[in-house]
């Protein structure tokens, strides 16, 4: 049997399932990878031929996503979540231990092809870290014992399906419930209310509720739906943004795990308002473990006539939802990049205008909303806009779910009406000696103790949900450095300032960390921040400097202590730069060394 037929064997069902539609390329690649642990070059041959796509495009897409591999990456692919919260819980020591036990260098594949170990951006498990993904399946609560067991299982080549189930346990960790998390929502209840009324009336309810997007930007949901509804287009689409890539955010994970009906129902209400027949959930690849669960719920909803044709008996109301998985790209949370990715392409943000509401998926009018926004829409469908508008504050109606992590006794989800103070949240989660809180993740804002009376609200501290707590023992420079590395890793590479600038910024932060800093470098960092802010193409580049700007402004001593030199000195270690030559010549005389700084004679 020739190679190509073997590939056909597992690819044909995938191709058939995705109807040979090139917009499903990313989905097909992801599934193709599940076969060998990487995308085999001959699998690309076959896809290229069957889909009539240029190979360069297939490779261009595959190489964009960090969870897809074009080269063998080991039978076991271990990725340590590397958010600052994982670091604070000791993930680096655990990774080192694992590398030692399995004889593999971080970032490489072991010589026998058994295992590769590397870091990855926050996997959304900050409340139960340190966390790891093994073959894209999440394992949390790592301890040295657990690492030892994992190494044992890998060495014995036990398939993941035979691993102890408790390794894969994922908790919701809900610590404070309000209208949403405590709603005891009954599937179909909101839809039954909503479908009795016209789509205009429902749109009015959403507008009355003053609901604003929960994904970070806080755009009025009612206006978004209205723009989309009135935009001309052959089809309209509803997209649920479940990319949840912002480090420190994990509330969408819990919503999809335990409140999926509210989310799906919110999407269906949106479909009713804008006239969409089709919806998508864009689920981050790191949440692959939720896929079967979500498919089962969708299937149940179809049987219950909550999805599909003639929903709840209303003729002409046809709507269904498809799940697309991402594959490791934070930028795909940006709505236009998300749409590109949904279309099976590289996740590069589009030029805007036009905005998705007029030209989104397949250039048709599209609503993109966050998971929590749709869940809130269900509540509004059930209880009405006025009821919702009464909760929270003037500018920020309703409640917000916070993902609390870091230095506190009870990390997890906390739901509050908007307007809650940071101090209140800190008290509730059992935080002590708090030095700083990073609100809304690295792209958000870092606040110091004198700001803890500020409130969670769009006109004070807007947030997509992350709430990372740092106590007095933490080094805020290292926090910022971790975030800068995150942005460098996640920059899509499209525009010059962010592609190159995030690397430069990360190099400069490393320079300070390595003790090579001087006021010159500090000034350089400030200049770079401004450039990224003013010339980047999308929100990622704009916010890439936030962690540095905030920590410079509020925790200046953490920087000052690293500006150890008065005069500029090189970023690299000159003496180390001679080490290869020393080794090759066997020399170690004084002339074979260079001092780090110039000592005049």
């Amino acid at each position: 049997m020739s190679q190509i037929t073997t590939h056909a064997e597992y690819l044909d069902p995938i191709l058939a399932h995705y109807k040979l539609n090139q917009h499903n390329l990313l989905q097909m690649l992801r599934e193709a990878q599940e076969h060998f642990g990487y995308i085999h070059p001959e699998a690309i041959d076959y896809l290229e031929q069957q889909l009539q796509l240029p190979r360069s495009m297939v490779e261009g897409v595959a190489s964009f996503y960090s969870l897809l591999y074009l080269q063998p990456h080991g039978e076991y692919r271990v990725l340590f979540s590397d958010n600052i919260t994982d670091r604070m819980l000791g993930n680096m020591d655990l990774m080192e231990s694992m590398c030692g036990q399995l004889w593999v260098e971080a970032g490489k594949v072991s010589e026998d092809g058994l295992v590769s170990i590397n870091t990855t951006s926050c996997t959304g498990m900050c409340d139960q870290g340190p966390a790891v993904l093994i073959n894209n399946i999440a394992i949390n609560h790592l301890t040295q014992d657990r690492i030892n067991s994992l190494c044992e299982l890998i060495r014995e080549r036990v398939p993941l399906s035979g691993w102890p189930l408790e390794f894969f346990a994922i908790e919701d960790n809900i610590h404070k419930k309000d209208i949403l998390l405590d709603s005891n929502f009954k599937f179909g209840s909101a839809l039954a209310e909503v479908l009795q009324r016209s789509s205009e009336e429902i749109l009015q309810e959403i507008k009355t509720s003053k609901l604003r997007g929960r994904g970070g930007a806080g755009f009025s949901t009612g206006s978004k739906w209205e723009f989309c509804r009135t935009a001309p287009g052959a089809q309209h689409y509803v997209v649920c943004n479940a990319d949840e890539g912002e480090p420190g955010t994990f509330k969408d994970r819990v919503l999809l795990n335990s409140y999926a009906d509210m989310v799906f129902e919110g999407m269906t209400i949106c479909a009713h308002v804008i006239g969409a027949k089709k919806g998508f959930i864009y689920l981050r690849g790191e949440y692959r473990y939720l896929l079967d669960h979500l498919h089962a719920i969708l299937q149940r909803r179809r049987q219950q006539s909550l999805l599909g044709n003639n929903i709840l008996g209303y003729t002409d109301f046809n709507f269904d939802i498809e799940i697309h998985l991402g594959a490791g790209a934070y930028i795909c949370g940006e709505e236009s990049a998300l749409i590109e990715s949904l279309e099976g392409k590289r996740g590069t943000p589009r030029n805007r205008p036009p905005f998705p509401v007029t030209s989104g998926y397949l250039n048709q009018p599209t609503v993109v909303n966050n998971v929590e926004t749709f869940a809130a829409a269900s509540l509004i469908g059930l209880h009405g806009g006025a009821w919702y508008a009464n909760i929270g504050t003037e500018t920020s109606s309703g409640t917000k779910i916070l993902s609390v992590s870091g230095d506190c006794a009870h990390p997890g989800l906390y739901e509050y009406p908007f307007g809650v103070t940071v101090a209140q949240v800190l008290a509730d989660c059992g935080a002590k000696n708090t030095q700083a809180v990073q609100i809304s993740g690295p792209s958000g804002i870092c606040i110091a103790a004198n700001e803890f009376e500020r409130r969670i609200a769009f006109d004070d501290l807007p947030t997509a949900g992350a709430f990372m707590v740092f106590d007095q023992s933490r080094d805020m420079f290292e926090v910022a450095r971790n975030f800068v590395h995150f942005f460098k890793h996640e920059s899509c590479g499209f525009c010059t300032p962010c592609r190159v600038g995030t690397s430069l910024l990360s190099n400069m932060m490393n320079k300070l960390a390595n003790g090579h800093g001087s006021p010159y470098d500090f000034a350089e960092i400030e200049k770079l921040n401004e450039l990224l802010l003013s010339t980047s193409h999308c929100g990622l580049g704009h916010s890439a400097c936030n962690p540095v700007l905030d920590t410079i402004a509020k925790f200046r001593p953490a920087y000052d202590k690293r500006l150890t030199h008065k005069e500029y000195i090189p970023a690299f270690d000159l003496d180390y730069a001679l080490s290869q030559a020393r080794q090759m010549t066997g020399r170690d005389d004084t002339g074979a060394h260079l001092e780090r700084i110039h000592v005049s004679k």
Binding site: P41, E59, S63, R346, N351, G493, V500, S503, L504, S534
Partner: protein, 248 residues
């Protein structure tokens, strides 16, 4: 309404101002397109009037009604105040150029494109005296597999013009961007990854659009003597669009 006597236009003509000059524009034009049509130069690299704007290099950054934006993708509004030739913006453009220089390996003295290169000429225009940042010195092997053309990826600025030309004009998809972030790079459409194994030919539009010295015709390098090359006599701001010129 103030009228600029140098620019004839009728009452119905929509205009915006660019550094104080009145520029007419029509529906669908972007700021740079209208400026070019009026003979005004805004520095740019990934924009080429023959292709759909891309908006990635950000060299064409301007301030439009106080907000910074890429002029190759931003459409003007009536009476919009656009500033381009200011110290602040030129400083930023220079820094972006410096980023492009350190990101790749640009050794102009040994580059066949020197003197005809838009990156270089734009850097001259903006008085870039040094690359300023630390060099990344990436390892980017050449592709000399093709009989007629050489690819020197060391100089690629990822503007995607070759990819756009190949797909939009040649209908071929010879070039694509691959990778992500700082690892973004250009690939060609063959399993071997070699240009020789693609259907690329010298007649392709894609062979003639690279603003820098990546896609190089073999055996004709350095044919034009120093002093006679595109940007020797006139700065890029005073030269008709080089791609348009080069295509002749």
């Amino acid at each position: 309404m103030s009228q600029n006597s140098n620019t004839p236009h009728n009452k119905n003509q929509t205009t915006f101002t660019l550094d104080g000059k009145t520029i007419p524009f029509s529906e669908g034009q972007t700021i740079i397109q209208a400026a070019m049509a009026a003979g005004e130069y805004i520095p740019h690299l990934c924009f080429n009037p023959e292709f759909k704007p891309h908006g990635s290099c950000k060299i064409c950054t301007v301030t439009a009604n106080g907000r910074q934006t890429a002029s190759c993708t931003q459409q003007p509004q009536v009476d919009m105040m656009v500033e381009s030739d200011t110290k602040q913006i030129n400083d930023e453009r220079r820094a972006l150029l410096q980023m492009l220089f350190v990101e790749g390996n640009h050794f102009c003295p040994s580059c066949e494109k020197s003197g005809d290169c838009q990156l270089q000429a734009t850097a001259y225009e903006l008085d870039m005296m040094s690359p300023h940042f630390d060099h990344f010195s990436p390892n980017r092997p050449l592709d000399a597999s093709h009989g007629e053309y050489l690819l020197d990826f060391n100089r690629c600025i990822l503007c995607s013009l070759c990819a756009r030309a190949s797909s939009d004009v040649d209908g071929k998809n010879v070039f694509s961007l691959a990778g992500r972030g700082i690892k973004t790079h250009l690939i060609v459409n063959s399993k071997s990854g070699k240009l020789a194994d693609t259907d690329f030919t010298g007649d392709d539009k894609a062979a003639h659009v690279c603003p820098v010295g990546v896609i190089i015709k073999k055996r004709v390098g350095f044919a034009v003597p120093i002093g006679k090359r595109s940007f020797d006599e006139h700065p890029i701001s005073a030269t008709p669009h080089p791609i348009v010129k080069g295509a002749i």
